[in-house]
Amino acid sequence: MNLPILSCILLCPTVALALILITPSYRINIIRLLALAASLASLILSTVLMGLFDPQDTAMQFTERLAWLPDMGINYTIGVDGLSVTFVLLAAIVLFCGIICSWAVGFRVKSFFVCLMCLATGIFGVFVSLDLFLFLSFYGIAVLPMYLLTVLWGSERKEYAGMKLVLYLLTGSALLTVGCLILYALPDSGTFDLLHIKDSLSFDRSFQDRIYPLFCLGFIILSACFPFHSWAPDGHAAAPPAAGMLHAGVLTKLGAYGIIRIGIFLFPQGAADWAGVTATLALAGILYGAAMAVRQRDLGLMIGFLNISAMGFVLLGISALNELGLNGALFQMFSHGIVAALLFACIGHLYNQCRTRNIDELGGLSSRVPALCVLFVIAGLAGLCLPGLSGFPAMLFVFWGAVNFHPFIGIAALGSLAVTAYCLFTALQRIFCGPLNPRFSELRDLPPWQFFPRAVLIAALLLFGIFPGVFINWIQPSVRSLLSS
């Protein structure tokens, strides 16, 4: 099959973006339908991609190469392996659900969907890029729309949150830019092609020990890990539903993906030498995120801090540098991406109805919005890694891998789940149980068609929770190949 499927996935939101741009702004329904069609096409193509993907082949698949600026070592090189293919699917699922959840956006609809399509292009691009220039370009393409989405369609403290988000993310990007330029300037390099760098250059241990922290730091900032996390809770809380879903669900995963795709892939020895430091940071992030979440009265901020804790688990799995840990980290990234998207989809609806996210002001909502209550409970349980949902096997692998790496860190990290459980159950109890605040007596529950995208997310959680082997089969050969190198 000669269809350049990855380019087609990339082109779906790009073409939709161009079409939306030339559509008159008063044609709101056409704009929405164009965005939905693009996201549906991306989802279908991503599903086809998963079907065609051969997990046993650890080399890059569906590669496409086009000379771009050959003299400067820049080429349009894209491809996927087991490490990246699942995230293309994740991004497509979250984008599709996010667009349906944003159907009610009525303010500057055209600009909103232009930004969303641009964000989607950037996200897909990062996951399929095999050229460092391309990787960073797509990352930049994803970050700026996120800023506009936050400041224009966001909620409380959106201006502050948007600027903080963009400055943090681009600081990480600047570090990565410098790292990529260093690789380019090495003798015998002269290219930004990731596979070419891996195959043709051998880095000695001292070089790896110096360059790995630069990349790792850049990616840690992007993935909102402690101590460079402070942009994330504000950004997540302020963003509109679809942007929050893509942001918390996918954008933060780009950083963790980068550590694996570039950091460990190119500098395995550096990663091993710095594993103790990154695992300690991961543990600090897990505990700090959970502890800070307890103190929050704003539901968005609380989920934002729990995300930091979850990203800590991802970093812990990566730091373990063993098969279980990396499998767990990749599984947790996917699973948490779905959970975060579901939580922010629910928070978005709640905020649109109540115009507040303050837990103390809410109460007794289960009588008015029972469907939303059920969705919140399922998302909360998935966040707590309940067996039967995808978070459980993911966390089990991470924990197992972390204990193999360092028993104390693994066990200490697991303790944070108790705090997370307290946090989530307290919040759910206050929001949905007890007497109803009279202010919210006119609340409307989710319409049935708005239930659909959330149901898709829940289906994904259940599917990979009940059949974790499906996911593990996709990623395991590539993980083994990565570790054997």
Partner: protein, 465 residues
């Protein structure tokens, strides 16, 4: 015959100057009717002529005093296109001395065109003086009351710059016994240890650094920008940069960068980035803001000069091209706003609600600012990437590291304007119409910004000299 063909842009500018001079003597209704078509028509024609002769290779004319090559012709076409667009967008105030304004703008452009190709010290000096003095008079006669101060400031700067350059040239001519720049470059290698040679080179280059607003020669820039009409500020921001760059690239290609000057250039680049960005953080006046950011951009450009390699200079040339494009787009939007508001002293607050009143214009401004700040996939990003790549190859890692972080401050300042245009509500809710021609022009510029960012190869090849 060949010389006339190669000099067609300069000849067309001279004819335009003659026509505009004649228009100055005509009654008001004739001046008002014909000034813009004459100025814009000749500018675009000269730009096309310059572009058509861009691939003639290197031709030396008039006893090695003037060189016509790809670089000089491209920069001339950029300056002339900018002049043509500025002429077309100059709508307000309509009754002022338009013919005189465009007359001096054209004389300044003639000076710049000669500056782009000058290979003789004396022609270079005369061209610089023609450029600076014409621009100073242009500022003074075109603007409001405060423009006289700005014009005087530029005039004083021009006199000082001329004196400094003349002193530097006298040292170099004395050492090398020639007024030809290429001849100087060939003979100066034996004098690199002489303080007179280093001083001569520094004094020769200092006025050109000042034209590019490099710290510490930048002091004129914010005052002159804010004191001028927006159209004139746009002209200075684009044309000064292009012509000074042409001379400096020629200079660095022929002379090379002595090792002893590299730390000096690197330090000036770092301070320029820092000072420009730091000053921009506090600006409310959009022209002052652009002036300060221009100082920072010169700092990024000097990363290329510090590296000194041919690749770095090519990247610097490409970077300047994209910078001029982004700056032109931003200033054309400001001019359109100025026409609408009848206010030539635009503040950031004047952009409030632009996205509601003129969504197309605000989108153009957004992309112009993002390209200016170096955000992918726009022209500014690719240019900056190529610039940094060339510098890293020359082992200037720390400089690139610093420039990458300063780029964030530039972006922060640009996003402040974006916030005003997109986030804050407008005081005046009336939409203002944008003509079809204006849309076409802006769409063309937008495609160019995207094209240079996404597929820069043909343009980058054009930038090789």
């Amino acid at each position: 015959m060949i010389e006339s063909f190669l000099l067609f842009p300069e000849i067309l500018i001279s004819v335009s100057i003659g026509c505009l001079l004649a228009l100055c003597l005509c009654p008001d209704h004739v001046r008002n009717r014909y000034t813009v078509p004459v100025a814009a028509g000749f500018s675009f024609a000269a730009a096309c002529a310059a572009l058509a002769t861009a691939d003639v290779g290197t031709q030396v004319l008039f006893g090695k005093t003037l060189q016509v090559d790809g670089m000089s012709q491209i920069l001339k076409s950029v300056v002339l296109t900018g002049l043509g667009l500025i002429s077309c967008f100059w709508k307000w105030p309509s009754t002022e001395r338009k013919a005189e304004i465009f007359f001096f703008m054209n004389t300044a452009v003639l000076g710049m065109a000669l500056l782009c190709g000058a290979t003789d010290a004396l022609l270079l000096y005369v061209s610089l003086q023609l450029t600076v003095f014409s621009t100073a008079i242009l500022i003074a006669i075109s603007g409001p009351d405060r423009a006289a101060d700005a014009g005087l400031k530029l005039m004083i700067f021009g006199i000082a710059a001329g004196a400094v350059m003349l002193y530097g040239l006298s040292l170099l001519i004395g050492l090398c016994q020639t007024t030809s720049l290429s001849g100087m470059a060939a003979r100066i290698t034996g004098f690199w240890n002489e303080p007179a040679a280093l001083l001569g080179i520094f004094l020769f280059a200092a006025p050109l650094f000042a034209m590019l607003s490099l710290w510490p020669f930048h002091a004129w820039t914010p005052d002159v920008y804010s004191g001028s009409r927006t159209g004139v500020a746009a002209f200075i921001a684009t044309a000064f940069t292009a012509s000074a760059l042409a001379v400096l690239i020629r200079f660095f290609t022929w002379f090379g960068v002595p090792d002893s000057l590299m730390p000096v250039l690197a330090t000036l680049a770092v301070i320029s980035m820092t000072a420009g960005n730091a000053a921009a953080l506090h600006q409310r006046n959009v022209k002052r803001l652009m002036a300060c950011l221009g100082i920072a951009q010169t700092g990024y450009l000097f990363v290329a000069f510090t590296s000194g390699s041919r690749d770095a200079l090519t990247a610097g040339f490409f970077f300047t091209g994209t910078l001029i494009l982004s700056t032109l787009v931003i200033f054309l939007v400001f001019m359109r706003l100025e026409n609408e508001r009848k206010n030539d002293n635009l503040q950031a607050d004047d952009l409030d609600g632009l996205s509601e009143r003129a969504p197309f214009l605000s989108f153009i401004l957004l992309l112009g600012l993002l390209s200016f700040a170096g955000v992918p996939p726009l022209a500014g990003f690719t240019a900056k990437w190529l610039l940094f790549t060339a510098a890293v190859k020359e082992q200037h890692l720390w400089l690139v590291f610093y420039a990458a972080f300063q780029s964030l401050v530039t972006l922060f300042c640009c996003l402040r304007l974006v916030k005003h245009a997109y986030l804050y509500p407008a005081g005046n809710k009336n939409p203002f119409a944008i003509s079809f021609v204006c849309r076409i022009v802006f769409s063309g510029l937008l495609l160019l910004i995207l094209g240079l960012g996404i597929y820069p190869l043909p343009f980058f090849d054009l930038a090789r000299f």
